[in-house]
């Protein structure tokens, strides 16, 4: 049972909140990059408790949200031609331009939820008479595991397994955001899980080139409070640097083993981000040496190459995903665009900004309308 730590937590939180109130002089707009952080902020109600000077801007760090619609269309096309399509649960409801994998499954397509990339390899091994496609999306967090699936399939000499990938990288999208003249971002809460893989060095360009401090942060409410305090201290002491709050998991060099696996299987390439558009050298493609396991190559002739038009009602999504607007600025939010019927990327995954706000802050929405 969780009583003990839950009783202790409010006390620690009160201490951190008091220290934050003491130090908060002037507005500080903090972008949390990762969808997991957005979710944790709303779930624990942190945004209600912090002083008004501290504002969270929600970043583009939900990999499900930024997966291009065409990838979903391609997965559906493969499922409809008889492949077993395996993917993570939260990809199921994401609408492509012709509905979602969940809807394809309701029409009879064989779509299966997996909890790890190796589960998809195992399905291919067991069902050797069927073609198995693993729809693999994610940031640097999941890329190594998905690369391992390819290495494992090669070791097993599986001929019926391939990966339909959409892997994106955090640093290039941050550079893209900061290119805008007035981003409104004063500081960053760096992604915790991604940094366990890539380490903290990759974010040095934020303070060094753009003058924005970063604190790499864990996912508990107390982690987030401590990170806000660390950012305030940097400001008060005139520092601007990369700091790690999530010390229990993140090392400066990340995980060399995971980086090596990624390097072996993927190469950096230009990438389309849903709601944002193309960003140079912001994604990972499968290297030539593994093209037999690359679904985009294997089924090249059968796949749609671009999505039909993005839902016209999703026009605010790009600005919301980039933290320029909040979901409450969007006329469709909660009115037509809901988790049951998402128009665009922020609402499709439970960790998207719109979905998190919809679920945890219903009250505001009612008040503001």
């Amino acid at each position: 049972m969780r009583y003990v730590d839950e009783y202790r937590e409010p006390k620690a939180a009160q201490g951190l909140l008091a220290a934050i109130r003491d130090l908060a002089a002037g507005p500080l707009r903090v972008m949390e990059i990762c969808g997991g952080h957005t979710h944790a902020i709303y779930r624990s109600g942190l945004d209600q408790l912090l002083p008004a000077e501290i504002r969270f801007l929600h970043g583009p760090g939900c990999p499900v949200c930024v997966t291009p619609a065409v990838r979903v269309d391609q997965a559906i096309a493969l499922a409809e031609r008889g492949c077993i399509v395996c993917t993570y649960g939260d990809m199921l409801r994401v609408p492509g331009s012709r509905g979602s994998l969940r809807q394809a499954a309701a029409r009879g397509a064989d779509v299966r939820i997996v909890y790890g990339s190796l589960d998809a390899v195992e399905i291919a091994r067991r069902e050797s008479g069927r073609e198995v496609v693993f729809l693999a999306v994610g940031f640097e967090t999941t890329a190594p595991a998905n690369a391992c699936a390819i290495l494992r399939a090669r070791a097993l000499d599986l001929r019926n397994f391939s990966v339909l990938g959409s892997h994106v990288l955090v640093p290039p999208v941050l550079r893209h955001l900061l290119k805008a003249p007035d981003t409104g971002i004063d500081a960053f809460i760096g992604p915790g899980h991604v940094s366990t893989v890539v380490g903290s060095e990759d974010y040095r360009f934020l303070p060094e080139e753009y003058g924005k401090p970063v604190v790499i942060t864990g996912f508990e409410p107390l982690d987030l409070l401590e990170a806000v305090l660390m950012l305030l201290r940097q400001k008060a002491e005139g520092r601007c640097e990369v700091e790690v709050q999530y010390r229990r998991a993140v090392r400066a060099e990340g995980s060399p083993k995971a980086r090596a696996v990624m390097e072996e299987v993927y190469r950096v390439q230009d990438q389309e981000w849903r709601g944002i558009g193309p960003i140079p050298r912001s994604g990972l493609g499968i290297r030539e040496a593994f093209h037999a396991f690359d679904a985009l190559r294997r089924y090249e002739r059968d796949l749609p190459v671009e999505a039909e038009e993005e839902d016209a009602r999703a026009y605010t999504c790009g600005e919301v995903i980039q933290g320029v607007k909040t979901p409450l600025d969007c006329p469709a939010f909660g009115f037509g665009c809901t988790p049951e019927h998402p128009f665009g990327p922020g609402m499709v995954s439970s960790e998207g900004t719109c979905a998190a706000l919809y679920r945890y802050r219903h009250m505001d929405r009612e008040v503001m309308r």
């Binding site: 408790l49 939260d90 990809m91 509905g99 999941t142 995954s349 439970s350 945890y360 219903h362």
Partner: protein, 341 residues
Amino acid sequence: MSRADPRLARVIEASHGTGGKMTHDLVEQVFLPAFRNPHLEPLLDGSVLEVGGMRLCLTTDSYVVQPLRFHGGSIGDLAVNGTVNDLLMCGATPVALTAAFILSEGLELGLLRDVVEDMARAARRAGVEIVTGDTKVAGAGDREGLFITTAGLGVVPAGIAWAPGRIRPGDRILLSGSVGDHGASVMASRFGIALDTDIPSDTCALQDAVLAVRDIPGVRCMRDPTRGGLATTLAELSGQSGLTLTAEERRIPVREDVRGLCEVLGLDPLYVANEGRLVAVVAPEDADEALRRLRAVPETREAVLIGEVTRDRPGHANLRTPLGAVRPLDLLPVEQLPRIC
């Protein structure tokens, strides 16, 4: 190619069966208009009918679970305990059950026999008999293809009229034990290779607990937070009473392993199913006594007070987080799906 209108679900999807908002929409848009009558209208666990001077309670439920057996029980246990508990939650003493089986061609007979024995044992424990039944065979090729529907008949004693309409501001909310055990157990069994846990389902019949507190006048109503979990039950009771059930998150017990599993999968344990828990709303002056009696019964020995009824957001439930913030606790718009990272 024609573009599908995403607002229209033309076919049934998995989210229609999760007890959340889409299930409610389906019931309100398809079943209720066709069957509408005063007994059905409140959409409770069962209906109480006056027959020959007696107050009879009638309820039914279908059981679909994969795998059929999981740690701590099977679909057979659920089919008896679930229906018995629905009768109990209406304040009824269970009298008899029916059982209808839909079997797939290819279902292993040994598996069926095990499940049926589980049902017989669960019925003996709950003190009911299965008095009539039916068997059909449909579909093919599934060695685990088994669906069970049970109906339950019970008698409601004079003076008992539990209903959400009796809930008043200031009432206390009691919960009989940790949440999410059953759902977590089934998920762990389903993905046994990947998730090395040993969480037992909480499936059990709650007759001893209900009989222990039924004569306390301040008991307003009871619910078993099954599909959709504790959060869905609190949201439904708020909607049906027009008041606000406010729970304190730090008072809600969650087993450490259930919490860990839910964290890995990105699920909220408050929305994960239970099959042997109850929520009771009790007048403030009777809450301590109800809690004391529940704790004396093995199935509800870990009963706790989790919150109280207010009127600050009529018709909607609230959760106070451990940090002291308040957030809404609504029906889930769509099913919870395991996340990616």
